[in-house]
């Protein structure tokens, strides 16, 4: 087992990784930017090294500084978390050549799945259904029009290096295809340094259902069921649940097997997620594979009774897949709400700043993964997620009631958060009926009954 691990990330996931390390008796080294000097994970780590100025490009993305810190900290392994360098195959290669274990898949698997386009071809080869689309990168608008005509509108133009909902445009006709093609390329160039795009059929208001994969270095790969991440705003997930209200045992078996088959075909190791789009007709199409631990790994943990981050560390240290993970079965329902420092009344505009008062909900079946605390200043340089609120229950209905209750006791003052937004969703008929798809948030927010009414107590004064 490792003696010391460097956490190449920040915020709640850095805290998550430190907690797993501490439970495994592993010493922790946190690297941080100047904006994160007061961050909780830096304070809880055994050691910490400042690696740069606030902007991510000056700190969390600086491979050379992270490796220097790893060297002087004399670490055995690096956990990249999610985002930042987590899916950077070059970073994994640098770790490999420095003989520091990268807690994640082999770099060659990251290369295979990292390019959305080559991932599709691996899926095709593995017999996993994919959405009809271009055979590869679409070079120019003439080709784009030809392909769109062939597969039929509406189509989605997607960046091959994309992620986080960026570098994507939907086109319903030729004129919007032309503008969408160029603006997607432009956005992709700016966000990922690679303007290449491909085109696929746009499944209207699909369900976004993903499967958790866990593979050890001894050839064993299992899936730990699905998560429904259809509740999205601007292509970013806001609420996730496990299991999916749309799932049947038969469909789970089919999709789970497809996910495992794909992972096997690229020699996958460690944690990963295979994402699918599912139409109302329950036909599923491979979308992409994320070669990292995900934000919503938490709900799988609650439902399947396992610690996925600890398992990542064990696998990276060479151990075989734990029996309780290999034979895990779903035994409850779980929902996660991503709490962001954003103002839902002002179009979710970011709301960084000092948290004057912070009280997180508790009680039976409530889990909070957060690095926030009273007096903590949310910096403006990074993503706005400050907490993950997870509730677990025996049934979907009781899990929703519990989430509603927990949100009502979540007090964060000094900044605006999306807590009232989540409360309104938990109260919506459509969500409670389990009848939602990726168009849900827009519809529900436009409806008259949508009321962002924060709870008021004396604690606010």
């Amino acid at each position: 087992m490792f003696e010391k691990v460097l956490i190449a990330n920040r915020g709640e996931i850095a805290l998550r990784i430190i907690r797993a390390c501490k439970e495994l008796g592993i010493r922790t080294l946190a690297v941080y930017s100047e904006a994160d000097v007061d961050s909780l994970h830096v304070q809880l780590a055994d050691e910490s090294i400042c690696i740069g100025a606030a902007p991510s490009s000056e700190s969390y993305l600086k491979i050379d500084r992270i490796m220097s810190a790893a060297e002087i900290g004399d670490v055995d392994a690096i956990h990249p978390g999610y985002g930042f360098l987590a899916e950077n195959a070059h970073f994994a290669e640098v770790c490999e050549s420095c003989k520091i274990k990268f807690i994640g898949p082999p770099s060659q698997a990251m290369h295979a799945m990292g390019d959305k386009n080559t991932a599709r071809s691996y899926a095709r080869k593995a017999g996993v259904p994919i959405t009809p689309g271009s055979d590869g990168i679409v070079e120019d608008e003439k080709e784009a029009v030809k392909i769109a005509k062939k597969i039929g509108y509406p189509v989605m133009i997607k960046a091959v290096a994309g992620g986080g909902g960026r570098g994507m445009r939907v086109a319903h006709n030729e004129p919007s295809l032309m503008t969408g093609f160029h603006s997607a390329r432009h956005e992709a160039e700016k966000a990922f340094g690679n303007p290449a795009v491909y085109i696929e059929k746009f499944v209207v208001n699909p369900h976004h259902i993903e499967f958790q994969i866990m593979a050890d270095a001894h050839g064993r790969i299992v899936h730990l069921g699905e998560r429904d991440c259809s509740i999205q705003r601007r292509n970013q997930k806001v609420i996730e649940e496990c299991p999916s209200p749309l799932m049947t045992p038969g469909l789970r078996k089919k999709m789970g097997n497809a996910a495992v088959k794909l992972a096997k075909s690229v020699g996958y190791e460690n944690a990963g997620t295979v994402e699918f789009l599912v139409g109302a007709d329950r036909r599923f199409y491979f979308m992409e594979m994320n070669t990292r631990i995900q934000v919503e790994h938490t709900i799988t943990e609650e439902v399947y009774g396992c610690d996925l981050v600890k398992e990542q560390i064990r696998i990276a240290a060479g151990e075989k897949l734990s029996p309780h993970v290999a034979h895990a079965v779903p035994r409850s329902h779980a929902i996660q709400c991503r709490i962001n420092a954003e103002d839902p009344e002002r179009n979710f505009q970011p709301s960084p700043g000092r948290i004057a008062f912070y009280y997180a909900p508790g009680g039976r079946g409530v889990r909070v993964d957060s690095h926030a605390y009273t007096g903590y200043t949310v910096p403006p340089f990074y993503d706005s997620m400050i907490a993950k609120l997870i509730t677990v229950g025996a049934t979907r209905e009781s899990t929703i009631d519990r989430m509603r209750r927990a949100l009502d006791e979540y007090y964060i003052t000094g900044i605006k958060t999306t807590v009232p937004f989540h409360s309104a969703i938990m109260r919506s008929r459509e969500f409670r009926d389990g009848n939602y798809d990726t168009g849900f948030v827009e519809r529900v927010m436009a409806s008259e009954n949508f009321d962002l009414k924060p709870t008021r107590t004396r604690l606010h004064e």
């Binding site: 050691e47 910490s48 090294i49 690696i51 500084r65 220097s68 060297e71």
Partner: protein, 147 residues
């Protein structure tokens, strides 16, 4: 930042009834907080904190307010091991009292077996050698103070 600048800020704070002022620039952080009501009384109202030094549990280096007149910090622009000379037996590049210009090499920071020459990027006279030769330094850590 000089003492007269800090006095001017305190003045402005009083005039405008502000209780907290915080600023950060180039590894230098300044926080001024007026003692209010049930806030714990502070021995010194001025807290000047340098970016925390490399680790032990709970370690957060805070330089005493002391004399903030005219001393500028040369800070580490990278992460690595600090050496005062070009090699273990070589004499140090600079000592207290040495005059430096912006282009003067003041030390080496070694990272991943690469020796990086660090320039002063300021001119003046070395007043203090803060970092210890052979020890690791982090980004923003104070290496020297220059008058």
């Amino acid at each position: 930042m000089e003492l007269k600048d800090i006095k001017a800020i305190i003045d402005l704070m009083s005039k405008n009834d502000l209780s907290v002022f915080e600023m950060e620039k180039d590894g230098f952080r300044l926080k001024l907080q007026k003692g209010v009501g049930d806030q714990p009384a502070m021995a010194a109202p001025i807290v000047v904190s340098a970016t925390p030094a490399l680790a032990g549990p709970g370690a957060a280096a805070e330089a005493a307010a002391g004399d903030a007149t005219g001393l500028r910090d040369i800070v580490a622009p990278m992460v690595g091991t600090f050496y005062r000379g070009g090699s273990p037996d070589a004499p140090p590049f600079v000592d207290v009292g040495k005059t430096v210009t912006e282009e003067s090499v003041v030390c080496i920071i070694e990272a991943m077996k690469v020796m990086n020459e660090i320039k002063a990027e300021t001119s003046g006279v070395i007043a203090e050698v803060v970092a210890e030769s052979g020890k690791p330094v982090q980004f923003g850590q104070v290496l020297f103070r220059v008058r």
